[in-house]
């Protein structure tokens, strides 16, 4: 940590006041040095609770209150694969410098889980803060952090008469206490709560009563001992806060999806939930009929089968899944590729082979998705790097799938998908839907017939017809078995090769159609970074660290799709050393690049890998980079 970079040189006013009125005793008892400089809008809060305790809405209120004060903020839920009882941590990072990646440690701990409290306290940095249920008696473990004991149960009982609601209301008490201690504006908390419980006045009253009680208790009993403050900024005006899965759902809905088939799987479930919620609101005909169908399938095999059946018959269709579902979709994905059927598959990546760690994040599906299925299959994969791109690449995927007549995968991950992120508001699509090359009855009247898989335009994409086209020559026979350019069954070597070579050309042409990479920084450095997806947040921060700590400038190109655009080849060609930063063990992105770039450039690539299931942090990249560069 570079404390010197971020500490605002100002003495804590309140601290002096409390010291003068005798509260110094507390500080002395705790044995900490309280004469520290203020830390403003640059620290993390870690809320340790028990899964199933309903802390999610309290965490969300806290997050949005900081957001509401104009301070850049991000929230991360580190949760177990469990319904209730196991530990959960929610980390909120306030960052005046707009850094939204995970950090390794949080300075402020809200310790509400008796099972992890000791460990949670022990992992705090020196000078950190603990707000905790006083019964936990945590002071015994450290003498270099500030302890704020709060009698949560007693306070909760005074504001909530109904015993069964107390478990939930209790969470709001910590929101109030934290707000008081960190100087979060109570008015902002109040308006955030009002938004959350929009039409439920009673629920609002109960929750805000709890916030207020926590706030007042802290004001009265917990004199400020620590240096951490939230102060108003103007960095979030006009911005939205949303998770990537909801953004993917919006992308699908504004693409005009009509058939959604899925099987629930963490962490992708909320993609379809968000999609369905929006469809129910926005896609009902004046007669009250649905202009869409959402089917919860019996498994992922069926889900992708339905997507391809619908795509073949002309609907904009999608599914959302994660690793194990991707494995099950393999055979059908090959059919989609070979029979040239559009469909969109959102893969929200989670950690590990097999079941792995379902509630942890990763980027380890890239290779299996790119080549999903047997026998010379390859797929177009879009790689959103933030929530706005979850939306934009989300809707672009539907256009591309129909243009290219192939399944298109959108690779997100749990960190991007299930956590809340700030973003500029999303823009309405500027181009009309691209439904691809479809022949109508009139076309067929003029042409007198067609060959489904013939490259008549030189773009390696054939024309297709949809079932229901009222023309005797409209039909063709779709098959995953060997076929010639007229869709006839074949086992002839030349005919097989002709189709396979055209598919290869089509894939190559897709380089120009998929979202171009973003040259985040393309200067004169000899060193470049390549990355995709949620790695972006940590990498940008790391680049600043590398600059500040080592004086080293580095360039960075963010990849947004496979097949790789030519700009990516150029980027590798123009840098001596290219660090490929990714969240998997086996350097999958680097491997994919090595298959694509000229052989003489392969040795330029080196990898920085992170794959423990936690979101990537900047320090990991910086340290690894420094080691590899010998800095």
């Amino acid at each position: 940590m570079r404390e010197s970079d971020r500490v605002v040189p100002e003495i804590i006013g309140r601290e002096f006041r409390h010291m003068a009125t005798g509260d110094l005793a507390l500080g002395q008892e705790q044995g900490i040095t309280i004469a520290r400089e203020r830390v403003i809008n640059d620290f993390s809060i870690n809320v340790a609770t028990v899964n199933g305790s309903g802390s999610q809405s309290a965490n969300s209120v806290l997050l949005k209150s900081i957001f509401g004060m104009g301070v850049p903020v991000s929230g991360k839920n580190l949760f177990p694969s469990n319904i209730a009882g196991l530990p959960t941590w929610y980390t909120i990072r306030a960052s005046k410098d707009n850094y939204v990646a995970r950090t390794r440690g949080a300075e402020v701990l809200v310790a509400l889980n008796p099972d992890t409290a000791k460990q949670d306290v022990l992992t705090l940095p020196s000078g950190g803060v603990v707000i905790y249920e006083e019964k936990l008696n945590l002071k015994q473990y450290r003498d270099d952090v500030v302890f704020y004991p709060v009698p949560f149960d007693t306070i909760t009982a005074t504001v909530c008469a109904e015993a069964k609601l107390r478990k939930l209301v209790r969470n709001m008490v910590y929101v109030g206490a934290v707000a008081q201690i960190l100087s979060i504006d109570l008015g902002v908390v109040e308006s955030g709560l009002r938004k959350q419980f929009a039409k439920k006045q009673k629920v609002f009253d109960l929750n805000f009563g709890a916030v207020k009680a926590g706030f007042d208790y802290a004001a009265e009993k917990l004199p400020k001992q620590d240096p951490y403050f939230i102060e108003r900024m103007d960095q979030t005006a006009g911005k939205i806060m949303i998770d990537g899965n909801a953004a993917c759902g919006m992308g699908a809905v504004f693409a005009g999806v009509t058939v959604v088939a899925w099987y629930p799987i963490t962490p992708s479930t909320s993609v379809v939930e968000a999609t369905t919620d929006l469809l129910k609101k926005l896609r009902v005909s004046p007669e009250g009929k649905a202009t869409y169908a959402v089917i919860q399938a019996e498994d992922e095999l069926a889900a992708i089968g339905m997507v391809l059946g619908a795509g073949w018959a002309g609907a904009r269709s999608m599914t959302a899944t994660s690793g194990p579902g991707i494995s099950l979709m393999a055979e059908f994905s090959g059919l989609g590729y070979y029979a040239e059927i559009p469909g969109v598959i959102f893969d929200v990546q989670r950690t590990g082979p097999s079941t792995g760690m379902p509630t942890r994040t990763s980027q380890a599906d890239l290779l299996s998705v790119a080549f999903l299925s047997h026998g010379d299959t390859k797929h177009v994969v879009l790689l959103p790097g933030n929530v706005k791109e979850c939306y934009e690449l989300g809707y672009a995927a539907f256009d591309l799938a129909e243009r290219l007549q192939t399944p298109v995968f959108v690779l997100s991950d749990l960190d991007l998908g299930m956590n809340n992120w700030m973003s500029e508001p999303f823009d309405y699509p500027t181009t009309p839907q691209d439904r691809g090359k479809v022949l109508t009855k009139d076309d067929l009247d003029k042409l007198g017939g067609f060959a489904r898989y013939r490259d008549v335009d030189g773009d390696a994409i054939g024309w297709r017809t949809l079932p229901g086209t009222d023309h005797p020559k409209a039909a063709y026979f779709t098959r995953g078995s060997g076929h010639n350019d007229a869709a006839g069954y074949t086992e002839k070597p030349d005919e097989y090769v002709e189709v396979m070579d055209r598919l290869s050309r089509k894939f190559d042409n897709a380089r120009k159609l998929v979202p171009a990479p973003v040259a985040v920084k393309d200067g004169t450095s000899k060193i470049g970074f390549l990355a995709y997806g949620s790695t972006d947040f940590a990498l940008r921060e790391s680049m600043d660290q590398i600059k500040k700590e080592y004086g080293q400038d580095v360039d960075y190109m963010r990849i947004r799709a496979y097949p790789f655009a030519h700009e990516i080849h150029d980027f590798v060609a123009s840098h001596e050393r290219v660090y490929v930063v990714e969240q998997d063990r086996d350097a999958q992105l680097a491997s994919l690049l090595k298959l694509d770039i000229p052989a003489e450039h392969v040795t330029r690539l080196r990898s920085i890998l992170h794959y423990n299931g936690l979101p990537l942090d900047a320090r990991t990249i910086t340290e690894e980079f420094a080691t590899k560069e010998g800095l």
Partner: protein, 351 residues
């Protein structure tokens, strides 16, 4: 017994009531073995579709993988066809009919494609009462891989190699009745009249039609000791009812002895007359239908006929409350919500 009449034009070939000759319902030349039951079924599908005057362009032909699943290439070339993945015809069909729900859908599967690899998807298709005709061309063996038993092979039946099947057969009809199909029957590829009538009634039905058609494999399962051979079927076929079908466009009065016939008014206004061959068999009684099938199986009878019919149950399309237009071709003005909708969403997400 009622038979369909087909209007004739004096000079040209015989045409159906939408003016198409049967030639327009033909497919490619079959590549299956001479004498394969599947070829006879293809012929009956052609006849049924033609006689019912279904426009070929309004039909989607679906299949999985196997000998049976090749057969959509051998009928109705003017229909869109999808030969999909082994055992996965149900899911592809589900997606296709959701996209184009005004279309007629006919799927051809086999006993392996359905009752072994495809069982998972098959049962869920039945549950959903998806509007489609699902035909199992059932020969009890895998043909393309040279004659292994399938899951519909009867207990004790014998392969050419002498291997005896020691596992019980899955009765796809009993299963279909139990799980929610609304038109369930069994026929025999060698019984032209029964199969044709059954197919015509199937075309008139709205909902899942599940037809198990015993279709002997002349190469691998037509020998002594097989329970799916021509000879065995000729000797053991036990019709439960005689099927009379009068299409909605036909003007035929049928006079039956009262009490001897079960009349069913079909969704499209056609009439299905099931002359009772078994004492008081009621094809709307689910529990009795399943019991009858289980008993017949215990007695080594191969019951055929329409076992179960329910013309009232909502289909999957009904349950989804879809607009009348096909989802596939809804215009962008319908499928892409307006900018104001996005603006509202953005406003709700701002601080």
């Amino acid at each position: 017994m009622a038979t369909a009449t087909v209007p004739n034009t004096p000079a040209g070939p015989k045409v159906n009531h939408i003016g198409l000759p049967v030639l327009e319902y033909r497919g490619n030349k079959t590549t299956l073995c001479a004498g394969c039951g599947h070829n006879a079924i293809s012929e009956r599908i052609i006849d049924a579709m033609w006689e019912m005057g279904v426009k070929p362009e309004r039909v989607m032909k679906m299949s999985g993988i196997g000998c049976s699943s090749k057969s959509p290439a051998y009928f109705m070339n003017r229909s869109h066809s999808f030969n999909s993945v082994h055992g996965r015809m149900p899911s592809v069909s589900t997606g296709a009919i959701l996209a184009q729900h005004q279309m007629k859908m006919l799927g051809v599967s086999g006993d392996g494609d359905t009752a072994s690899i495809g069982m998972g998807q098959f049962v869920h298709l039945l549950r959903r009462n998806l509007p489609m005709i699902y035909i199992i061309e059932d020969n009890g063996v895998y043909g393309l891989t040279k004659g292994q038993f399938s899951a519909t092979a009867d207990l004790g039946s014998r392969l050419k190699t002498g291997v005896i099947n020691d596992l019980p057969a899955i009765d796809t009809c009993a299963l279909a009745i139990q799980l929610g199909a609304t038109f369930v029957g069994r026929s025999f590829s060698g019984d032209k009249r029964q199969l044709l009538s059954m197919l015509k009634a199937a075309i008139a039905h709205k909902g899942t039609v599940m037809l198990d058609v015993i279709s002997p494999c002349v190469t691998f399962n037509d020998h002594e000791g097989s329970t799916k051979s021509y000879k065995f079927m000729q000797e053991n076929d036990e019709p439960i009812n005689e099927i009379g079908f009068v299409a909605s466009f036909e003007d035929i009065e049928v006079d039956y002895e009262s009490g001897a016939v079960y009349d069913v008014e079909m969704h499209d206004g056609s009439n299905l007359h099931l002359r009772k061959l078994h004492e008081d068999y009621d094809p709307t009684d689910k529990a009795n239908a399943v019991r009858t099938l289980m008993e017949s199986s215990a007695n080594d009878e191969i019951l055929t006929g329409v076992f179960y019919i329910d013309t009232q149950k909502p289909t999957f399309i009904d349950l989804l409350n879809l607009v009348d237009e096909p989802l596939a071709t809804l215009p962008e003005s319908v499928t892409r919500p307006p900018k104001a909708a996005l603006d509202n969403l953005m406003a709700s997400l701002q601080q």
